[in-house]
Symmetry: C2
Subunit: 593 residues, 2 copies
């Protein structure tokens, strides 16, 4: 096995110090609790965290790359040389943009680039934490795949998973993690980033499911009629998902520290309680991560599935961090519960409603074997609506691309400004008020040494003013937690949503491109006219799904932003009023001479 | 004549470009309007500003130093070798402290150095604009004397004065000049600095007044009984000046641009109106400067005479600058009018109440010939109070030294903090609010492109919130002019006062030292016991004067700080209330969903 991260043995714990890049021999692959026993080249033996090493498989001895993706690519290219060009263009574009911009080339032509002066194309992309590869590569290679993927389903036992551990190099949490999102934007590849990349090609994980994806969906003669049917109806606002008659939320609470291996490894377990059943289940972060990967794999091309809050090693048990992670896990769960398609899905229901460990494990294995993933999700959809023509389809898709790109810019601008403001309000500004307060108080102290009679009133007034400014300092420093925090969190969440759209739009654009080329394929008898007709209908289904999802997105957006703006303004008004009251009280204590 | 500053000729104005250090021959010493005609080594002729060149006199051809000061120093040294040691110690100290700290050595021993961690001794001294030489040097050499002093009274015609021009290298005015005071702290010697240095030895200016100063005052058998008698009485708060029965202020107003030399040189003339007489006179800045030098020469060892607002070349006629200078000239005049000794002095009265040009010139010449200057001012004082013993005298003096030094530190701290706050409130903070406002508005603009129905309420609310933050930005940026400005101005004024104390305390300490040594002088028959007795009495008079002045200072201080703190708190409270109201109004426009 190849060591992926430096690991320093704790003395007396039977551990083995290993360095990144080192090759060790695994002498016992499953000690339990996320540990394996290894032997290094010097023959020293000891325990190493399972997820610090990568089991080298046949054909992948030299690196992280999955061999069969190249074959997939070749198949795809033979079908559509144009798509390959898009692919390579997207790659080039991404190279220019430091490979960090998930908004690919198809945008630049279409977007109403009114604010092109901002040069959005050259901005480092913050959604990189979400998805990291070239976006048009929706059928490309699984580069930097999650090591876990290579262990194969047989090797993976429930107790053998990743722990909550993340890249040990990740920075320590700045308050509320706004810094984290920045650092992950700027930093090199982190394990958190690779997860999504791997999940973009979930089919690679499932041997026996050959020639997967877009061709299968668009060209298959007869779509499988799955038991799970996702309805799309035409409502007042256009296409929409069918909302369940009763909704529920899931309360994430009561984080408890648990430990394994006699305290060697510890973790946090959260209690999840559904508001409809009032029953609770417990889940660790890695279980959420598992759910995220399932949802992304299953719905990721139709529904934006925002990534979970970042994994974190440093300060993992620090109170503030646990509170913050729980708050964000809660936000994430609420989002998922609010989504009519996701919340009704079997994998999601099973995650919340298993009765015992056995039922959970059975459900988990079933979900992992689910074949309706990737673009195949569209095969479960039957819009009760007239067929769309290609022009309409393309326009709708472009409109969504434009809007989500613009909103992504807007949200990021607000986040940048908010981040700056947060820093000022919690750093230099209160420090300055404190300095003013201290300067006033020390002046009053000097005055009191004058020996001059009858100036105690003045000195008390100045001291009072000084104290007031010290109080203002802490009011200023505490305020962002009461208002800016929520504005930031909402925008942070939406940044997560919006970061999913390049892939979604990419899939749609890819499908549209294929249909556009299909005439040529019909002419050269590579496909039948019936197949071409099927393609148009299926791209139409995709367009309806996109519309339905956008309508869901918009209604949520309006609700969320309205709430958060109201809260922000109300809290801000209250803050300024409080400060004013305090100053007025200090003023009234100064002698009116 | 030697050129002191670079001067670049304006084309077509018959001027001559000269460089610092260049020697030119004066072909016409008085062209009028502050210009002379000179010839450079190449034989080129042209006009040069009079105050850009120094007329080289006998024995001073090689530099700026006035020869006879060395003789004075020798006389002094022969009398008191100890004083010379203090002198050289002070010099050393000043060298270490970049020669910028007017608070000399005598402090460090006495001061209750509770905040010695601040290292006040190593702080660059901001009062340098006021007085620049070693402070104990109260009878030392007139280094860097004002060039005007060397022209002799005969050469100086009323029309031949300095113009308003100052060192052309001085920085352009930052708003309200707070930056100026900083830059003059950091900068090298400026002409503004040299003025006070020259005035510290006003007696050098008056030939025929030999062996001037402390010895004369302390040792003279019979003090001249001048017509001008300054009374000191014992009031409720201890020794005090006698306040005149009626007071007056002087309104500085109506700045008018005038010009001379057919518009070649222009200046600003201010109208001064006394509130008691309601009559007006006009004065240029240079007249104020003349008055300042007279007052400093006459009262400077007994009464802190703060320097005038800095001279300024750049933007001299810029509206903001004129307004600011006038405001500060007003402040300065009000201070002087409020002072019972200064306001009643002949020179001050004459400055405000001359009836015509002739009367002004006569009064001006008379004031320049006044021999009651320097420490001789104490000879006009007759405290109606019991004699003090030396221990009391020294304690009082030390107490004043400690207080003024501590207050100087306190005031500077507040100015530093205020300066920082000013910058933030007028720079980054409103910029940030503006950014928040713009970010909100552009997000609303993006939202409006969604094509989703029924979100116009939200978008209007967000736009309104954005506009409110833009308004807050300008409220924040404008607010310092309404409150911080006055807090800064008051502290700035007091910094000016406090900067005078090192010289005042230095004179007192010097006198005390002399009396301490006088026993030795009596023993060696260098002075008589009667002379020694006179010395104690006269140092006692100085101590009473110091007490009287401190009581005046304290009562003003209490009044001023009370006013400014009240104003500051009231304005600040109002500001926060306004912001709160605006935010609340924006809040009320967001839909309550």
């Amino acid at each position: 096995a190849r060591v992926m991260y430096d690991f320093a043995a704790e003395p007396g714990n039977n551990e083995l110090t290993v360095n990144e890049g080192e090759i060790i021999t695994i002498t016992n692959p499953d000690i339990g609790g996320g540990w394996l026993e290894g032997k290094n080249s010097k023959g020293e033996r000891g325990l190493v965290p399972t997820d610090y090493v990568e089991i080298l498989t046949e054909g992948a001895k030299d690196g992280f790359f999955c061999g069969n993706s190249v074959a997939d690519q070749a198949f795809f290219d033979s079908l559509s040389s144009n798509a390959a060009q898009i692919n390579s263009a997207a790659k080039t574009n991404n190279q220019v943009n430091s490979a960090h911009d998930p908004w690919p080339n198809w945008q630049s032509g279409n977007v109403d680039n009114t604010n092109s002066g901002d040069g959005w194309a050259s901005k480092p992309e913050s959604a990189v934490g979400q998805k990291n590869t070239t976006s048009n590569n929706w059928e490309g290679a699984a580069q930097f795949g999650h090591p876990q993927a290579y262990q194969g389903p047989a090797a993976a036992d429930d107790d053998d998973w990743d722990d909550d551990w993340d890249d040990p190099k990740s920075t320590s949490p700045s308050y509320l993690g706004y810094k984290d999102s920045e650092s992950s934007e700027a930093g090199g590849p982190q394990r958190g980033n690779t997860r999504a990349a791997a999940m973009k090609l979930p089919l690679n994980k499932f041997p026996g499911f050959a020639k997967p994806g877009m061709e299968q969906y668009l060209l298959a003669k007869q779509l499988v009629k799955p038991k799970e049917k996702i309805s799309i109806i035409i409502g007042d606002y256009g296409p929409m998902w069918v909302y369940p008659t009763s909704t529920f939320d899931c309360i994430v609470a009561d984080p408890k520290k648990g430990s394994k291996m006699y305290g060697l490894k510890s973790y946090i377990e959260y209690q999840l309680t559904c508001t409809n059943t009032n029953r609770s289940v417990n889940h660790r972060y890695k279980h959420f991560d598992w759910l995220y990967e399932r949802l992304l794999g299953k719905f990721g091309f139709a529904i934006p599935i925002p990534s979970l809050p970042d994994k974190q090693v440093t300060g993992r048990f620090e109170e503030e961090f646990i509170k913050m992670r729980m708050e964000r896990l809660q936000g994430w769960m609420t989002r998922m519960c609010r989504h009519p398609v996701v919340s009704e899905s079997e994998v999601f229901q099973q995650f919340l409603n298993f009765r015992d460990e056995k039922e959970w494990k059975t459900g988990k294995r079933k979900a992992e074997k689910d074949e309706i993933v990737g673009v195949m999700i569209f095969s479960t959809m039957e819009p009760e609506a007239p067929d769309l023509d290609m022009i309409e389809i393309e326009q709708k898709c472009d409109a969504v691309g434009r809007f989500t790109k613009s909103m992504d810019d807007g949200v990021k601008e607000l986040l940048t400004v908010g981040q700056e403001h947060w820093k000022r309000c919690t750093g230099p500004l209160p420090k300055e008020y404190q300095k003013i307060g201290k300067a006033l108080q020390s002046l009053a102290l000097v005055f009191s040494t004058s020996g001059y009679q009858g100036e105690s009133d003045l000195n008390e007034a100045i001291t009072e003013a000084g104290k007031t400014y010290e109080e203002i300092a802490s009011l200023v420093a505490e305020q962002p937690k009461k208002d800016l925090h929520f504005l930031m969190e909402t925008n942070h969440e939406y940044k997560g949503f919006l970061g999913c759209f390049p892939d979604i739009i990419g899939a749609h654009k890819g499908a549209i491109e294929k249909v556009k080329e299909s005439d040529k394929l019909v002419a050269t008898s590579k496909i039948t006219p019936q197949e071409k007709q099927n393609m148009v209908k299926r791209v139409g289904t995709m367009a309806y799904a996109l519309q339905a999802e956008m309508n869901h997105f918009h209604s949520n957006r309006i609700y969320d932003y309205n709430n958060v703006i109201r809260l922000y303004l109300e809290q801000q008004a209250q803050f300024y009023e409080t400060v004013s009251t305090q100053l007025h009280s200090a003023f009234s204590q100064a002698p009116d001479q």
